[in-house]
Symmetry: C2
DNA sequence: ATATTGCGGAGCGCAGCGCTCCGTTACACT
DNA sequence: AGTGTAACGGAGCGCTGCGCTCCGCAATAT
């Protein structure tokens, strides 16, 4: 990892590329041009395409990382002693790095077996987090784990127009409002049936 | 309006065009191809471009209508006797027809004088609605009218992927959660400063 | 000095856009 | 019925902007 010379630069480039790709894709959407990632990373197209043979491959890598982070965030939430604080930590962390913005990518690209594995792991951990909050009576009973995933997705949705720091602050305010709405008991009964896992995963293509 | 023959068809086409444009642009984003609107309306490109000389003109018309509807919704909210119910009616109505999805268009197109006029009117009416709710003590005191506009915008944001009825239902559930979070008193203090009008309108280009 | 490796970015081929143009159709008028 | 006309649908033009390749160059290793 700490090799000298060009190998070190290569490793640095790889990281900058990943960071830039995350930033650009989550704020501009998946159809952002690859050249925008290269420019944001301060790297030439050649270097980008040596590491990732196609745009799809880059997106897959990005998704995988986002899933890892989401799973880790759920674990961190579980580690928290207080069930409510743990849940909030999980949600805030995921919205912070916009994991939800990458989830719907999956409809565009091929979902690898490893992605499915990680998705299932993250899903299961989040489920435990939500169940614990339910049992402690701190989370309104009519909201499901899937509702929360979709809430995070909604709050991660890229805004049109140029990237804007102010948007991030606004999102945090609104997320705080939404989190207050999640506390038990809900003032209003949630309308309609909760979303189904089949529908949720169906957007990603066929399960293995 | 109820003229016979071709003129009737023309009027019908105009309506279908507007409806289709609204549907497509709000669910797919502004860069949806014009041909998609024509197809969704069941109308040829020629007919579309006879009524609107450019895509921008169509978008302007659409924005104007959305603003009219938003202003009307705010009026309806004010007409409601209960301050909370009035506010909720306003928010739900606007999210229903996704007025917020059209607001950020304005950064893309030229904002006409009439659009500014209507925007100000809607803004002012919504302000009255929010103030009334504040004074009645039914709306948490740390949330501003602008926060609410941005909340509606967040919930109107187009989802990636193909249009999907299920998304609408999910949105309604999540909106219900958010509305519960708006009720006084907020469990958590909202972080940061409230968004400023200058920033909000600044995204539309220069004020007249 | 020479070989080798990774670098940046100009440019290729193409997909998909906004918009125009025109042959056809459906009605109004005599 | 015959004719003029207004509105129609949609193929296609010109062009932008994309994913991706290729190559001259700079930095290291030998």
């Amino acid at each position: 990892m700490d090799r000298r010379g060009r190998q070190a630069e290569a490793a640095r480039n790889d990281l900058r590329l990943l960071r830039a790709a995350h930033e650009v894709f989550t704020t501009q959407g998946f159809d952002a041009p690859v050249s925008a990632i290269a420019k944001a990373a301060g790297v030439g197209m050649g270097s980008l395409y040596r590491r990732y043979r196609t745009k799809e491959e880059l997106l897959q890598r990005l998704c995988l990382i986002a899933m890892e982070r989401a799973a880790a965030a759920a674990q961190d939430g579980l580690a928290e002693a207080d069930p409510w604080d743990g849940l909030v930590l999980y949600i805030r962390t995921c919205v912070e790095f916009r994991s939800g913005a990458l989830a719907p990518i999956a409809g565009t690209i091929e979902v690898t077996a490893e992605m499915w594995r990680l998705a299932r792991l993250a899903e299961e951990t989040a489920d435990r987090l939500v169940t614990r909050a339910h049992e402690a009576g701190v989370l309104r009973s009519d909201v499901t784990a899937l509702d929360i995933s979709l809430l995070m997705e909604q709050f991660s949705r890229p805004a049109p127009g140029p990237p804007d720091e102010e948007h991030r602050k606004v999102r945090e305010r609104l997320l705080t409002v939404a989190l207050d709405g999640l506390r038990a008991p809900g003032a209003t009964r949630l309308p309609g049936d909760p979303p189904s896992v089949e529908w949720y995963e169906g957007r990603w293509g066929k399960a293995p």
